[in-house]
Subunit: 327 residues, 2 copies
């Protein structure tokens, strides 16, 4: 029997009263007098499936000893409506197979672990709710990025990672060598931007975008620049500033709408545990058209602002992050 | 007026007898006694749009002097059925604006240039039919890869490019430094594979894939390993060999079907000019189920093969590229 992702059982009522096979990892086992609640998660959703094991189940007492947190299991059984409040469906098991048992000192227990601790067990970290939700949302939003640009007639181009270009000095570069020597016969670096290649392609294909890893050899731990990050760079030929701004707004609206529509329980999880009110904040962005203002207007607003800036705003100077944040 | 990609004019009959604005680059201008044929390409398609300019057009003689190959232009006009055989629609211009004129020594002329020559003008290369078709097909197929995995319930994970792991010695690695020193306090390299991170994520999310750049510091100019290439790595938990093979076949069928259905004129171009019969070859792959055989069967076939191998096939040894090619 084909295995079914747990996520599908929650969102597709055609599984109700049907027999399915699921595979996943034990989150918790809670034993009552005459039965046990087993929570299984397979990463297809932040939600775990509850399997109710009656004490009449074959080998009940030895089985529940082995069903410890972290064990990988395969369960076949009937999907039924749940009597509990927390979940819509649960499973009545017919067969439970322990694929891989888990020792008692499994480092992920049913409690909130600090991010710092989770870094020390990074091989298990994706099994936590937070990182699982991050990975699922990131996958979903990456796909939305591609979908948006493809719908808009852009071509995805894969620009070189190893390069000799420094892209107008966008940042400090990592150098690449093999056994201490230049491999390509001249100094080579990790790209800081695919912009130049994207511009060349835009001057042939009209609308292109890049979406790939980019690097900065800068010792700055800001939310703006990591040593390695994925960057989206659209380039459009025959396009003026107004159309550019329109496309940027359309893009952000598409991504936010996509995240709100498909984020489901992952987004709800973030909104509840990571940043309270996140969902409302994202919905707020979509309520009104984005404000548009000229550079001169921006400087005027900043100069009148009741805020202390490290760099005083001045016409002719670049806007700093602190200025952009204020605006 | 919004500009329209030229590709749309060929494939959407609702533009017929409508006024549109197009932007692109002049491919050729062919002048007859009383009119000129202008071919404009905007990279949205391998096909160029033909604009028929009568000699009664304002400033006809000075205009056609400026409409040299490579010039960037904007044309508004009526989309009409073409009387010629080579194209379905053409344009009757109302207004022609030269955005950027082009010198006479523009290095891309209307003739077949060698790939070696095109490498020397790589900033203009994407404007050729061959590279344009490559870029469009690559974009389309990359998207198909994401679409396939997302439909199948896989999550796209972005594995690190800078790493200390050598992935079971998959290949020679490039080293990364800043000003001749290790930047992260220990030796760091460019990844040869995201496999280990993908395996970790699969053991939490069940089905994941990577699709990103990968590197080999090997001086081998084969079609298998470049210094830098994009690689797809799916990882599935709770999956046996049979299911794995099934997924691999399903994936290849999806991508080939997608390419055949949406490759259009680009695929036809490859099939005509780059590899004759390519379309039929791809269709051939889809006609029958893929042959499946065990390692032992493969070795038996190779040992009976009427072929000379550099490495004699032997049970217990790895299959070499030459063996895979023969099979």
């Amino acid at each position: 029997m084909q295995k079914t992702p747990i996520h599908n059982l929650f969102y597709n009522s055609s599984y109700l009263e049907k027999k399915v096979r699921i595979c996943g990892w034990v989150r918790t086992l809670r034993s009552q007098k005459t039965f046990s609640f087993l929570q299984i998660n397979d990463g297809s959703s932040v939600e775990s499936l509850q399997v109710v094991i009656e004490d009449t189940f074959p080998n009940y007492s030895s089985l529940i000893k082995e069903l410890s947190t972290g064990a990988s299991v395969q369960v076949t059984g009937l999907v039924v409506r749940s009597q509990g409040k927390r979940q819509t469906v649960e499973m009545q098991p017919e067969n439970i197979e322990i694929i891989g048992p888990c020792p008692e000192d499994y480092p992920l227990q049913k409690k909130r672990h600090s991010f710092a601790y989770l870094r020390s067990i990074s091989h298990l970290r994706p099994r936590t709710n937070t990182q699982g939700a991050c990975l699922r949302m990131r996958s979903m939003i990456s796909f939305a990025v591609h979908q948006f640009f493809q719908q808009e007639g852009f071509f995805h181009i894969h620009t070189p990672i190893i390069t000799t270009l420094d892209c107008e000095g966008a940042g400090e570069m990592f150098r690449i060598t093999k056994d201490g020597k230049d491999f390509f016969g001249l100094p080579a670096y990790l790209t800081v931007s695919g912009q130049l290649e994207a511009e060349i392609c835009a001057l042939a294909l009209s609308n292109v975008y890049t979406f790939g890893p980019t690097f900065r050899a800068e010792n700055s731990n800001t939310s703006r620049h990591l040593a390695e990050f994925w960057m989206i760079e659209p380039e459009m030929a025959f396009c003026e500033l107004a159309e550019n701004m329109e496309m940027a707004e359309k893009f952000l609206r598409y991504i936010l709408t996509y995240a709100l529509e498909k984020g489901g329980k992952d987004l709800a999880f973030f909104s509840q545990f990571i940043e309270e009110g996140l969902t409302e904040k994202l919905e707020g962005f979509l309520k009104e058209p984005f404000a548009k203002l000229s550079y001169t207007e921006a400087i005027e607003i900043l100069q009148k602002a009741p805020a202390k800036f490290i760099y005083p705003p001045k016409w002719g100077h670049d806007l700093q992050s602190e200025h952009e944040r204020y605006l």
